[in-house]
Symmetry: D2
Subunit: 408 residues, 4 copies
C-alpha cells in the first residue's frame, strides 16, 4: 500500500457505519446511473465516503473545498479507485481551486455534495447551463446552510438541497465532538502550550462552541464565552463559563477560538487590547472570523513558524494559527475531525445522496431536512457497531404518552 | 416575620428577574380585572410569583399540584397577601386535593396557571360551565404539555395554553439545572450515601436527564443512561455515559433516578434483578415511573424511614424515596428547584399571564409557544441582574449572515 | 425498630468493611479487657463503629464532640447495645458538653478515640490522674492532629496517639469525598440556591478543599480558591480554579466555604466588602474560621431561619449557615459524611484501637502514623466488597523496580 | 532566525520563570567555573534551560536522552549559543547514542543533569575515572529516581543527586498536567480517533496516570485504571473511573496508555484478548511497558504509518504508537510537554544546579530532596508572572496553628 492507501485503510477501520452501508451498496448498486460532484476536504475519511458511493454504482468527481486541506497522497490513492475522478491539490492557487470545481462540474453531474456551498454557488452563477441536469444536492456545513437558506429566501435556489448539517445526527456529534476535540488537539500540538489554567475564549456558543468549551474546561481551562444571543449566553453562564463581550475577553484571553460562522469576530478594535503572547485561531468554516488583513496592515513585526504567524502589535506578540483558516484542518499537523465522527456525517451523506437521487425529482428548489428515518438509521447502525442496546416503548407506554386522561 | 414570611423573604432575595417585573407590575397594574387560578407546588418560590401577579392587579386563587409538596407556613403567609386566596394543604387526601382545585375554580377565573394540567383537566371534565369565562392558560411541565398536546390533537382543548415548559428559557435552566441539582441534593441528603464511585442510573436523556447525568458525573459517579431514542442514546454514549437497557441497568445500578415523564420505567421485571441496597427515586412529574404497587404486592419485608421505604424483594433490600413521587419536592427535606431557576420559570409565567390576558381572546383553543420576545426579555433581565454584557451583531455581520454571495 | 435503630440499620447496610471486621471481632474478641473512651459525632455511622468495638469485647463509653451534632434517637439506641454507655445529647450547654466528656473519663478508660482532641486535652489538663491507665489513643481530624503535634513538640503528650486523620485511606476519601459531597449537599438543601454559574469560594486547598472545589466545579460553579501555600495555589490555578486573596474573593463570591482548619479566615475586614446575598459556611472542624462575634457586634439587622442566620452589614444581607459550625453536620438537615466514607474511616479506627491495645505499651508519648498494613487491609476489604480486582507485581516487575542496572 | 531559533524564541515567550532566573544569572554569574553535563530531550524548551545555565556562567555539554526525541534544528541553534556544546542527533543508533553521552562526559563535568539516569549510570560504570570531579547532579524523572534510590540503597551512588522529579513543584505539574495534556494530544493527533465515548485505559494511577485519566475523562472517555496499590485503586474508583486488572481491561479497552514506570505492563498474555482496532501507547520513560518484542515475534501481518505500527494478532489489528516509546515525544508530530510546565521543571533544574554547585561538596553520595525554599521560589515566581496574589498567615493564625490549648 502507498501512504494514501494506508491512510484510507486506517480510517476505514474506524468507520463501521459506512462499512455497513457499503455492504448494501455493493450488493444493490442503488447509485448506478448517478454522477456525483463533490467539493470536500480531500483526506482519508472523505475517501472512505467516496469509495462507498462508488461501491454503490456512482461515478464520483471530487475536488477540494479549502485550499489548504487536501492531502495529496490520498487524492492520488482515490484516483486509482474504480469510478472515482479526483482533481484536488494541496496549497493550490485561487485559480487552481476554482479550476478544480469546474473540472468536477464538467462531468455534468446529477447530484452534488458540498462543504461550504462553493459547488452550488458556482452552478448558480458561472455554470447555470448545468442546472437542468441536477436532481439535487447535500450540504455539510452550518455556513453552507446559512448561505443556502438566504439563497432560497431570495428564490434563487433552483434544486433541492438536503441540510445534512442541521440534522441532530450531524450537529450533536460532528459539531460538538468533532470540532471540539480536533480544534483543541490542533491548537495543543501546534503551539505546545498548556491548556490547564489558561483563559480560553470561545466565540459563539452554538454546537461547535459548546463542544469546544466543554473540552477545554475538561482539561482545566477557565473558559470565556462570547455570544450575541442572551439565552445561549445564560446557558454558558450556568454551565460554569465566563460570559462577556469580545471587548472584555480580548484583554483577558490567552487562547482564542472562533466558532461563530459569522464574520469579523476578532477585529482591529480587539488586537491592541490583547495580552502579549495571545494565541488566536478559527474553527468556523471561512477565514473571515479573525481580521487578518488588519494584522497585516498594522503589524510592527512578524515571525513565521509551522502553522503560526506571529504579529507584533503595540509591542506585543499576537499569534494566529493556520492564517485564520479552519484550525483543525489547516495547521500543518491538522487531521480534521476524528474518524468516528465523520463516519456518522458521511453515512448521512451516503444515505442522503441515495435519497436525493430517488426523490429529488419530486422536490422543488429549496433546503430540506434530512429525512428522520435516515437519521435514525445512522444512529442505530452506530449503536449496533458498539454493541449497545436500548429500550423500546411498550404498547402501554405509547398509549400513556398520547393520552391526556390520567390525573394525579 | 413568621416562618412562611421568612421563607418568602429568603426566596425573594435570589429572584431578581421577578423583582424587576414586579416593579413594572406595581406601577402599571397590567393584570387588573384578571382572576388567576393556579395549581402549583405551594412553597416560597411560588409565593414570590403569586405576590408578583397580585402586585400587577390580579386576584389570585391558588391550590397545590401535588399532595406532598405544600408548605403550610407558606400557604398561611400567602393568605395574608392582598388579593391572594390560598387553599393548599400538605399531606391532604385525594378528596381534599380535588376540593382545593374546585375552590380555586369556584372563583370563576379568567386565566389558569398549571403544573401538571390538573386544573385544565378539571375544567374540561367536571367544571365545563366555567370554560366560557377563560381567556387562556399557562402550563409549566413536560408532562402537562404532553397531555395538552394529546388533548389538542383530539380537538378537545377549548382555550389557548402557553407551553411555558417547552420554551428554551425554561427547559435549558429549570429542567437541566433545576431538576439536576435539586434531585441530586435530595437523594444525597435523604440517603446519606456517597455519589462518588457509584453506578448512577438516569432513565431518560431529555433535558432533565442530561442535567442530572452531568451533575452526578461531576461528583464522580459512573452514569448509566437508559433511552428509547437512538440519537439521544448515542449522545449519552459520546458524552461519556454507559448506555444500556433498563434490564441491564437494573443489575448494575446503585442509585436510580427516572426522568422520562412516561410510565412503567422500573417495573416488576426489574426489581428482582437489582443489587441488595439499591436506591430508587423519581424526578418526573407523576409517581408512575416506578411501579410501587408491584413492590407493595410482592414485598417480603418492609422498613420505613424519613422519606425512604425499604422493600425486601428476593431477600434483597430495595429502597424507594418519597414513595416514587417527585424526589426533589416530596422527600421530607426536599426544597424543590433552586430559587434562581424558578426565578426564570416564574418570570416566564408572569409575562405569559400578562400576554394571555391581553392576547388570549384572539387565539383559538390549542397549545402555543412562549412568544420569543418574552423569552428574550427574561434572559436579558437575568443577564443584567448578573452584570453580564454580551455582544451585538454589527450591521455588517447581519448582512453577512443573510447574504449567500461570498465564496471561499 | 425505633428510629435510632432504623438509622443504624440503614447505615450498617452501606458499611461493608466494618461488617467484615465485625465478623472477626465477634469470633476472636480482640478487645476484651479494653475500656474505650470516645468523643465523636453521635449519629448512625458512629453507632456502627461503636457496636463493632463492643462486638470485639470492649466496654465503650461515648459522648459527643460537637454541641450540635448528636442525634438523640441514635444516642438512645446505642444505650441498648450490650457494653455501650452513651452520654451525648443534642443542643447541650457548654457545661453539659464537658460533663459528657467527664462521664466518659470517669470510666477510667484504657484507649481513647477522639474527633478534635477534646478528650485528650481534658485528660492532660483536668483529669491527669487518669493518664497512667491509658494505653493509647486515636484521633480522627486534621485539627486534632495539628493540636497533638504541637503538644508532642512541647513534650506534653504523655501517651501514643495514632493519627488516623493523616493516613491516605482517611485523607483521600473522608476529606476529599466525604467533606466534598456532604458540605455541598448541606449548603444546597439548606439554602435552596443554585450552584451552577455561581462564584463558589473555597478557603484552603488541602484535601477537604480540593474535594469540595472539584464537586462544586462539577455542578457548574466558578470556583475561587484562597491559599497561603504558593504550591497549592498554583495547583488550584492549573486545575482550572481562580486563585486570589480573601480580600479579593470577598468582593466576588456568592457562596463561601472555609476548609482550612485555621482561625480567622473570613473576618471583619471581609464582611463589608461582600455582595448582598452572600452565603457563608464552614467545613473545618471548629467554628473559628468565620468571625461570628464580629458579625454579632456590627450587625444592623438580623433574621433567623432554619440553619441560616442573616446579618445586615452595611445595608447588605450576609447569611451564615449553622452558626459557622461544621456545615455538613450542624445544619438542621445535616447528615454528616456519607456512610461509605465513614465505613473506611471507622474501619481504620476499629483496627487502630485493636493495634493500640496490643502495641501501645511499647510506644512512648507522641503521634504515630497508622501502620501501613492496616491502611492496606481497609483498602483491600473495600475493593473486595465492590468486587474489584487489581493487578499484582510479578517477580520480574519487582526486580525491575529495585534494579538500577538497566539502561535506555 | 533559523527554525531552531524560531522554536526557541516561541518557547522563551511562555517560560517566564526561567526568564526571571536568567535575569539574575546574567547579573550574578552564579555558575561560573561550572561544567554541566546534560542528557535531556533536546528540543526548544530544554534549549531555554541550557541558555539560562550558560547565561549564569556555566559551560554546558548536552546530548539526548532518547534516540527519537532530539530536534536537529534546535540542536544546531544551541551550538551557536555561547558556552554551549550540543552532541544530540535525532534517530541515532545505539552506538551514536552512547557516543553522545561519552562526548558530554569527556568535558570532565562538575555537575550532571539527567533525564532517566543514563549519564549517572555511565559515570558509575564505564567512566568511573570522572567521578572525583563531580560535585553532584540532578535527575528529572520518576524512573531515574527509582534507579538512583536502588543504587543508593546498594551503597553504589557516589555523589549527591537532587531528586527534582519528586518535589511537589515537579510532580504536581510536569507529571499531572504535562504528561496528561501532551500524551493525550499526541494520541489524538497521531490516530485521528475520537476520545469521547471510548474506553480509555490508563495503566498506573500515580501522578502521570491521574492527570491523564482526568483529561481523557474531561473529553468524554470512559476511563479504566489498572493499579497494583489498593489505596490508589480505591481512589481511582471513587474518582469515577473503572478499576480492573489488565487482563480484564485488555478485553474492553479501545485506547491504552501506560504510565507506570515499571516493565511488562501489556504483554503476550494481553494482546490476544484485545478488540480489533485497539490502540496502544506508552507515556512512561522507557519503552518496556508494552512488550513490542512479543508482537514482533507473533505478528501475522504488519502495516506501518507515521508513528503507528499495526500488528495483526489472532486476526485482529493492534496498533502501537511510537514503537512503545514516550508517546508525547516520540510520535512524528510529538512536541513533548507543554512549554509552561517545563518552565517550572527547568526552573527547578536551574536553581538545583546552582544549589548543588554551592552545597554539593558538603553532601555525601545519595538522593536528596529539592530544598523547600527552591520549590517555594519557583511557585512564587510563577504566581507572580500570572499576577496572582495569595494570602499570608497572620501572626495570630500562626500561633493558632502551633497551639494546642484551644478547645471546642
Amino acid at each position: 500500500m502507498n501512504t494514501g492507501e494506508l491512510k484510507m485503510s486506517w480510517a476505514r477501520q474506524y468507520m463501521p457505519v459506512l462499512g455497513e452501508i457499503r455492504k448494501r451498496f455493493e450488493a444493490d448498486k442503488p447509485l448506478s446511473d448517478t454522477k456525483i460532484a463533490m467539493a470536500l476536504h480531500v483526506e482519508a475519511k472523505t475517501a472512505v465516503l467516496v469509495e462507498t458511493l462508488a461501491a454503490g454504482g456512482a461515478e464520483v468527481y471530487i475536488t477540494g473545498c479549502n485550499p489548504l486541506s487536501t492531502q495529496d497522497d490520498v487524492a492520488q490513492a482515490l484516483n486509482s479507485v474504480n469510478g472515482v475522478h479526483c482533481f484536488a491539490k494541496r496549497a493550490c492557487s485561487v485559480e487552481e481551486y476554482y479550476g478544480g470545481i469546474d473540472k468536477v462540474l464538467d462531468a455534468n453531474p446529477t447530484v452534488t455534495i458540498d462543504d461550504g456551498m462553493d459547488l452550488i454557488h458556482r452552478l448558480h452563477t458561472e455554470r447555470r447551463e448545468l442546472l437542468d441536469n441536477i436532481t439535487g444536492g447535500c450540504e455539510e456545513t452550518t455556513t453552507g446552510i446559512h448561505r443556502l437558506r438566504s439563497m432560497a429566501a431570495d428564490g434563487k435556489l433552483e434544486f433541492p438541497v438536503i441540510a445534512v448539517n442541521d440534522t441532530p445526527m450531524k450537529r450533536c456529534f460532528d459539531n460538538v465532538h468533532g470540532t471540539g476535540e480536533s480544534a483543541l488537539s490542533a491548537v495543543m500540538i501546534t503551539t505546545n502550550t498548556l491548556i490547564g489554567g489558561k483563559w480560553f475564549v470561545v466565540a459563539g456558543y452554538g454546537y461547535c462552541g459548546r463542544g469546544l468549551a466543554k473540552m477545554a474546561h475538561g482539561l482545566g481551562a477557565k473558559v470565556i464565552v462570547t455570544e450575541i444571543d442572551p439565552r445561549r449566553a445564560l446557558e454558558a453562564h450556568m454551565d460554569g463559563y465566563h460570559v462577556m463581550t469580545m471587548d472584555e475577553a480580548a484583554k483577558t484571553g490567552d487562547i482564542f477560538v472562533t466558532t461563530t460562522g459569522n464574520t469579523s469576530i476578532i477585529t482591529g478594535r480587539h488586537f491592541p487590547l490583547m495580552k502579549d503572547g495571545a494565541i488566536l485561531s478559527n474553527a468556523g468554516h471561512f477565514n473571515v472570523e479573525i481580521d487578518i488583513p488588519w494584522l497585516e496592515a498594522n503589524k510592527e513585526g512578524f515571525e513565521q513558524r509551522d502553522g503560526i504567524d506571529t504579529y507584533v502589535i503595540k509591542g506585543k506578540k499576537i499569534s494566529v494559527l493556520a492564517e485564520g483558516r479552519l484550525v483543525n484542518l489547516a495547521v500543518p499537523k491538522g487531521m480534521g475531525h476524528p474518524v468516528e465522527v465523520m463516519d456518522l456525517s458521511f453515512a448521512l451523506q451516503a444515505l442522503c445522496s441515495e435519497y436525493i437521487k430517488n426523490e429529488g425529482q419530486k422536490l422543488s428548489g429549496g433546503v430540506y431536512e434530512v429525512p428522520n428515518e435516515i437519521d435514525i438509521t445512522v444512529a442505530s447502525l452506530k449503536l449496533s457497531s458498539l454493541d449497545v442496546s436500548i429500550d423500546k416503548l411498550t404498547e402501554y407506554q405509547e398509549k400513556y404518552m398520547t393520552s391526556w386522561d390520567i390525573g394525579t
